[in-house]
């Protein structure tokens, strides 16, 4: 069969008859290109681009903000920053070229424009004109505010109030308890979210310029501090682990939802997509069917607070099926581990522990191990015996691994599973899978697993899973370091400014001393109170909670324990809204006789700021500086630089640093004003500080590590143009390891923990991985009628919200469902609750409870109620206050929904603070039991 040319032409003409519909292309004299600008067509063109770092949550993603006529019009991801692209742009890329590329930004980041231009921001300094918390304010000048705060006086017609000048005394607070330190400690600085660059600045001011030990009691205890504390007790001070997702094959997340929260969320989610495409197995352990569970191979709806039991069950299976890397565990020092099997880390599994005093068995100060039954210093042995249980000179000693085996074998897998409320097969399956990928499997966790009274133990127990398979610092394994950064505070060989060197950079520096108001990092046994009264302390002391105990500050102020606070300065702090049972804390700061002076630095009328005497308006983070770091999710060196994107929207606001500088200069404090940063270096404005930090980053941590530029100014400009300094993506690995790998000891046993006594019970803590049931501060189980309160209440952060601040963004609230109280469909059916019904959730600590609409779903374990963060504001612009005798405007939608925090349990012994992990200091968010009833149908 063939066709002629003529027939072909003829037939084709017939085809033309059916071509009636239009195509995609048309002719044009000056044709436009199909693709213009970025791959994602972006109709908004700015006249300049500024690269900064987000603070919509704590992920610290780089931003590329378009600015037009001085207005920030669009927020994209900074393509140089590793949080926003895979891979991120090479650092040498020309900044103009980089404008053609947009990194990703999440909904929270994109919506930050709305919190920047929020008309409900505080625009001038305010002073209360009614009783504290009455909602009556007047506008004052900065000069008046500074004068009154510094000099005090009869400020409110309620009697004399000491100002900062009077408080800054170096006389002892209590001559009979000198350990409490000087009266200057009666100034407490309590920021909520505060980040690097800024926290070093305020630490310097409060501690070394003013002289208070209470330099920074920030929010971490309501975030995940037991995660930090538990890990630092495993990894020699390194307090954060993350899986190397891009090279891992199996990841089990306990109490974390990386597709919604955690940090950096968008990098976690993006990397997990690549991981899953490669066939990686993602497992989510969480009572709630989160976005992450929806993407996971398996969802394990465990009972809250039982994650350690699950991990111990996995350990039992691993031990019984020879799936523990005994070879790794047998190396007792760095040299042996590296030469034996190439490990960068080594464990204490072979170290001997004395039964009598719970310390390592030592010769001098050298821990000992057994090598074929012969005592040998750990640092000299090539391998140690793992299963030692013997008596030496009358003292029973066991190796750490033997202790762990004994601990793990205390319960059967079924018993562990029963604690978790799941089938034993779930534990066995994960133990099998976890140990089927060599070192490319990781157990990770976050706040869901540790914001419990047993949080630190749980953190150490889950971390131990990684140690048992020897995956630490290996490619595809568990990373306790990575996410590293150039040292902005200096002190490394390449850095020009060692800002921690107070002799050179803070002439006249004060050395603070004493006990912080929350008693963090102080052992109760060192106090006069202990010598007088013994156990229990009046309130708990937290020798391991180095991240502070934020939620304990207000109750301590109320109790004036261990001393009275005379001035509280908060910054971006909303402790009464964000803490479990936080609403109970409000009374604690309302009495001026107990707390004479309360200054809030904030951008809005927050729930906590509304209780202050003065509110000093500060800047939004798009008007601010900062040097935020990133989590070990990112394998390459990352030093983001936050810088003002636009001129201040409200001109009478100030950067936090400026407020402290102004006060410091007026008080004549060392370290501010002329030569404040050492001879020839004045500190009059924030940039005076930040330019030194950025210069340190620009020069780098090693000799010849500098960015391009002939002068310091040029180098700084190079960094600012890119929004920070970023190591190239191809530097992620070094052969079989991650490049910025942790190289140090790992501890299955914490000698420090095991030899420290709890300030309330007087009993020593446990040094091993452990499952401990939920308890009160006295170590007692909590009595509750399960029939009356049949549900656990838990919280989570939806992908479009952080804690408190995102409620002020209309775009985010518009995508937030009206129904916020999640309940399992079978539970709802039993209670006659339908989706959308108005329901009330209440507890024994809050019988009145909170009300909101029900979200009936199969995506939550029966017996659990879940309410997301960010909703249920009762201030924050959601309702008006009185300013200069006039009612302000407000936006009701900011207060939509309800929060779980008000119904969470108070500690039954202390009665004015939530349940708390006595080791890490974490506030318990997931241990309270509640009831739910229908209030009204739809």
């Amino acid at each position: 069969m063939s066709t002629t040319r003529r027939d072909f032409i003829k037939a084709s003409l017939a085809l033309a008859a059916i071509l009636t519909t239009g195509g995609c292309l048309r002719e044009a004299k000056k044709p436009s290109n199909w693709i213009t600008g970025a791959p994602d067509p972006d109709p908004l063109k700015g006249d300049r681009v500024v690269r900064t770092v987000c603070l919509g949550c704590h992920s610290n993603c780089g931003l590329q903000v378009k600015v037009k006529n001085g207005v920030a019009i669009k927020v994209d991801g900074n393509p140089y920053h590793p949080n926003t692209m895979e891979p991120h742009l090479p650092y040498h890329t020309d900044p103009a070229e980089a404008e053609k590329v947009n990194g990703t930004v999440c909904a929270k980041g994109g919506a930050t424009i709305q919190s920047l231009y929020n008309p409900l921001r505080i625009q001038h300094p305010l002073k209360r004109v009614g009783p504290r918390g009455s909602g009556k304010w007047k506008t004052i000048s900065w000069e008046q505010a500074y004068d009154e705060i510094i000099n005090g006086g009869n400020l409110f017609g309620e009697g004399h109030v000491d100002g900062l000048k009077a408080i800054r005394s170096f006389e002892p607070i209590d001559p009979n308890a000198p350990e409490l330190g000087p009266k200057a400690n009666q100034l407490v600085f309590m920021p909520g979210r505060i980040q690097h660059g800024r926290k070093e600045f305020t630490d310097r001011w409060v501690a070394h310029c003013f002289g208070s030990i209470n330099k920074r009691i920030d929010h971490t205890s309501i975030c995940e501090t037991s995660h930090h504390v538990g890990l630092s007790l495993c990894f020699n001070g390194r307090n954060h682990i993350k899986p190397d997702i891009m090279s891992s094959n199996y990841i089990i997340f306990f109490g974390a939802t990386p597709y919604e929260a955690n940090f950096p969320m968008q990098a976690l989610a993006r990397k997990l997509n690549f991981f899953r495409e490669r066939g990686g197995t993602l497992v989510i352990v969480d009572p709630r069917f989160s976005n992450s569970a929806a993407k996971a191979a398996r969802w394990i709806p465990i009972l809250p607070g039982t994650d350690a039991a699950f991990a111990l069950g996995m350990m039992r299976w691993m031990m019984e099926h020879k799936r523990v890397d005994l070879e790794y565990l047998s190396y007792p020092n760095q040299k042996a581990a590296f030469e034996g099997a190439g490990h960068l880390t080594w464990s204490d599994a072979t170290f001997l522990v004395r039964e009598d005093d719970r310390k390592y068995y030592r010769e001098g100060d050298r821990p000992l191990v057994m090598v074929n039954g012969i005592l040998t210093p750990a640092e000299e042995a090539k391998k140690g015996d793992l299963l030692v249980d013997t008596v030496i000179k009358g003292v029973r000693v066991k190796s750490v691994y033997k202790m762990l085996v004994d601990r793990v074998m205390e319960r059967s897998i079924k018993e562990y599973a029963d604690i978790c409320g799941i089938d034993a097969k779930a534990i066995e399956r994960e133990a099998d899978d976890f140990t089927s990928h060599g070192r490319r499997a990781v157990a990770d966790f976050y706040r869901g697993a540790v914001q419990h009274t047993n949080g630190t133990y749980t953190a150490r127990t889950i971390a131990a899973l990684n140690i048992l398979i020897g995956n630490i610092s290996w490619r595809g394994g568990c990373q306790p370091l990575s996410g590293n950064h150039w040292h902005e505070m200096g002190g490394k060989p390449g850095n020009p400014y060692d800002l921690n060197d107070t002799e050179r950079f803070l002439p006249g520096a004060v050395k603070p001393k004493g006990v912080p108001i929350d008693r963090h990092k102080v052992n109760y046994e060192t106090s006069t109170e202990f010598k007088k009264n013994g156990y229990p302390a009046k309130r708990p002391w937290f020798p391991f909670a180095y991240d502070h105990v934020y939620h304990e500050v207000f109750p301590s102020i109320a109790a004036q324990y261990p001393y009275q606070v005379k001035c509280l300065i908060t910054y971006w702090n909303n402790v009464v809204y964000s803490s479990p049972a936080g609403t109970h804390m409000m009374e604690a700061v309302k009495d001026p006789k107990v707390l004479p002076l309360f200054i809030a630095i904030d951008i809005v009328m927050g729930e906590t700021s509304s209780l202050a005497d003065y509110i000093l308006p500060c800047r939004h983070f798009l008007e601010d500086y900062g040097i935020p770091h990133v989590a070990p999710t990112i394998l390459t060196y990352t030093s983001g630089v936050r810088q003002p994107v636009v001129e201040p929207v409200f001109k009478d606001t100030k950067m936090l640093e400026q407020i402290f500088i102004d006060i410091g200069i007026r008080m004549g404090l060392p370290g501010v004003g002329k030569d404040g940063l050492g001879p020839g270096r004045d500190l009059n404005e924030p940039w005076d500080w930040y330019k030194l930090l950025v210069a340190n980053i620009a020069y780098g941590d090693k000799e010849n590590d500098s960015v391009p530029g002939k002068t310091e100014e040029e180098k700084v400009a190079y960094v600012l143009a890119r929004g920070g300094r970023f190591e190239d993506y191809n530097e992620s690995y070094n052969g079989p390891y991650t490049k910025n790998a942790y190289r140090g000891p790992v501890s299955l046993y914490s000698e420090k923990l095991a030899t420290t006594k709890d300030s309330m019970t007087g009993k020593p803590y446990d040094g091993l991985p452990l499952y401990e049931p939920i308890k009160d501060i006295m170590g007692r189980p909590i009595e509750v009628d399960h029939k009356k309160y049949p549900f656990f209440i838990i919280t989570y952060k939806p992908v479009y919200h952080a804690q408190a601040r995102t409620a002020a963004c209309l775009w985010l609230m518009e995508v937030t469902p009206e129904e916020c109280i999640q309940i399992n469909a079978s539970d709802a059916a039993k209670l006659g609750i339908k989706h959308g019904d108005l329901v009330r959730v209440y507890s024994m600590s809050n019988p009145k409870g909170v009300e909101g609409k029900a979200w009936v779903t199969e995506g939550i374990r029966p017996g659990i109620i879940s309410i997301p963060h960010s909703l249920g504001h009762w201030q924050y612009g959601s309702k008006p206050f009185e300013l200069d005798g006039v009612k302000t405007s407000s936006a009701e939608w900011i207060g939509r929904g309800c929060s779980a925090n008000p119904v969470m349990w108070l500690d039954p012994y202390l009665k004015n603070v939530c349940l708390t992990d006595p080791i890490g200091g974490s506030a318990s968010f997931y241990d309270s039991r509640v009831a739910i009833i229908k209030v009204k149908g739809q």
């Binding site: 003409l13 085809l15 239009g22 195509g23």
Partner: protein
Amino acid sequence: MTEILDSKEINGARANVYLFFSRIFREPPTQDLLAFLLSERGLDILKTLFPMEEVLRELGSLMEEVRKGSLTLEDFQLDFDSLMRVPGPCYVRPYESVYRHDSSSPGDGSKPTLMGEPAYQVSALYQKAGLEPCESTTNLPDELTVELEFMGHLCKQAERSLEANEQERAWKAIAMQREFLTEHLLSWAPLCLEKIISNAQTPLYRTFSRLLISFLEGEEDLFR
């Protein structure tokens, strides 16, 4: 290249064929289109254009099945959607960037992505040829039917230039046809069409994919 390309009629005829196939794979079939394709006249036209016995036999049986009612218009529409529009098991991702992805591209290279380098290249060629996207267009520039349509436009440009005796302009259009065919269309469209042949749930799109492959083979010979 063969002399046949000097013919304005041949360029016009090729344009019609390209635009025909662009239409076939751009939108789901309508009742009118189906009626034409499966009519005696339609079949005769296709027989003349594509003298491929086996394929045409399949079209004949298809015509019979439609007559009997065992295949309906809805079946073809569903088939079209699942092949060309809906990311499901049959979806062929009809984009050049997908078939010509660079394994060293972002990520681990295991999955091709949309809007790769080819999309930018073809977009630049469209502009060079004096063409821009219609306002209503939501398609990506390297989608199969856009590339077919572009070849149709280039053939028409050559036809018009030859008719106006603008030899140089005609040759520019023909040279661009060659460039586009060899650098782009022929490098991936047959792979995509093979995928349609294997994923299609009805004989209609299998048949037209075979016809288009055959036509493109002829085009390749034409420029050899």
